[in-house]
Symmetry: C2
Subunit: 342 residues, 2 copies
Amino acid sequence: MATIRDVARLANVSMATVSNALNSSDRVSPELLARVRAAVEKLSYAPHAGARSLRKRSSGLLGLVVGDITNPFFSDLFEAVEDAAAANGYLVLLCNSSERSEREEAHLRMLRTQRIDGLILAPTGAASMHRAALLAQLEVPIVLVDRAMDGLGYDAVVLDNRKAGFEATSHLIARGHRRIGLINGPEIVRTAADRMHGYREALLSAGLPFDPALVRDAGFQERPAHDAFGELMALVEPPTAIFATNNLMTIGVVTALADRGLSCPEDISLVGIDDLPWADAVLPRLTAIAQPVRAMGETALTLLAERIAGTRLGPGTTTVLAPRLVVRRSCGSPVPLKAAHV
Amino acid sequence: MATIRDVARLANVSMATVSNALNSSDRVSPELLARVRAAVEKLSYAPHAGARSLRKRSSGLLGLVVGDITNPFFSDLFEAVEDAAAANGYLVLLCNSSERSEREEAHLRMLRTQRIDGLILAPTGAASMHRAALLAQLEVPIVLVDRAMDGLGYDAVVLDNRKAGFEATSHLIARGHRRIGLINGPEIVRTAADRMHGYREALLSAGLPFDPALVRDAGFQERPAHDAFGELMALVEPPTAIFATNNLMTIGVVTALADRGLSCPEDISLVGIDDLPWADAVLPRLTAIAQPVRAMGETALTLLAERIAGTRLGPGTTTVLAPRLVVRRSCGSPVPLKAAHV
DNA sequence: CTTTTGTTGTAAAACGTTTCAAACAAGGCT
DNA sequence: AGCCTTGTTTGAAACGTTTTACAACAAAAG
């Protein structure tokens, strides 16, 4: 494969000139620029990224580490980030940890070896001291997405989770529901706590009581959510509506519905956080709180690019983006207990 | 960040010894090995991938280019490929072309600059001369997934599409269906042609006539499939079952079903190719032909690794993997025309 | 005691870029 | 004519590795 030296020889100029022509084309005369371009074309020269990163001390690579690329939220996020990165001349290295912390660690080490210029991290699992150390070792700007991590001073871009919880719950209340089951993630994680906070606020501002028996921690996962739904329905006073705070758990309760032959919204109402690509295709047609995934990816990248360029200084701030309620058919009015064929 | 020189100084050995200790640990005495390891640990040294690739003339990077990472088939594929790659010491660079050929080209150029050691390509769109040239310029082994490209001599791993078509159709025939609508991709692409081939074989071996009016080209896309379904149902003798040959088109017809208030399998039966993660959660619970995505990713990577290592020579061969029918609830017996509330 | 063989370590030369400082050319001023 | 400017071009050094070729030495063989 041709090197910059070959190009220089063919164009009859120095290597430095070729480099200048390719990188800062205004610093070289039109005459030579044309010669260089022609030579590049003829040899179909492609610079060697490794050599370049060695000399420039910057690789043009960005890392994106997510917990599960199979989750539509994350694949959409990747798409958004990659588009924005391409527009800024960066290439993104996607790391999928499959929710396993050992793999995440391995990836972080890999990213360090690759000398990435910046990292976008969608933190998963518990915040470990060890991870914090690995992140610091990277010695590059980091932007958090989806979940903030307190005390580390990183920029973050997250959903307005309180508002998401509030709106979902209010939507249900507006339809007449008074007992609303909340299937949530672990309260230790901010996201889950905030969503529940919104839920309580909505209840409060409608003058409804908060009943702890109606909330379950299903760890943001599908199967536990399925089971949690069962528990909720076994209550002496079961809920007439369910609010599931992420897409996996929403799928879990939809499955549970189908298992019991319950139909939605006739027998019970359902609203979830995270819109799903097929939410409009299948039954029930799911009403959901959509996250502005694209905007999240784009602002994360903008923040990161600014940090890298050094045009953004000071402590990290967290950007909060508004949720959007998309109303479909899964929420109706509550049905009297006996009418439901449980 | 520490360099190999720093490690050498701290361990009181030469740089060469550090390199040997790290790469071929058996060529250095236990004594020094320990010293080197300690120094590496203390400095938390991470080698510089760029420098290494410069010298070694190999980057440890593999490319994976797909048309749409948002499609579960491709995100599953990425997961499988990444796992297998990690096991072989490779890092994978995911390129999502969003089905746009210009972006695909840009990605291929990028991959050349990165000096990837090999490429896994899930070809999308038409086979262009231009793309073929770009692929050749890469000068690395290439393995095709999902679709083969004739005449270029690359290895490929694909589904047994004929069999997939045959099994899906036979499943429907076994339930008593005689008029089966086929919503297919463009026949120019092998995948689509083969699936249709299987469809015809199944018809033939059941002694059923092949009616061209029952097959539509929906370009493997959702919206066109939705419309194609409408056309099929407008026939004087509409089908009692639909076979959609990929996941997007399956979603399209499910939507069309819901739009018309048709239920499945009561009013019409449906089988699709590509299983979907939520196929069991929603209604209708979709019977589908599952592709062995994980196996596809793994064998693709194995093939690629062997080509790179030079342990595999000669012209490319195409590996054909068997489909798996997963039966759920979307296929029943045909209902007489008048009974269906169209 | 010399030679051979084998092991373990090292100095130095690449690998392909970018960038620094210096050289050079061509005008524009005194 | 001499002296600055200003703008282009270039030689050479540096970036952090791996590898080649060889040196040093010890052990085994003669």
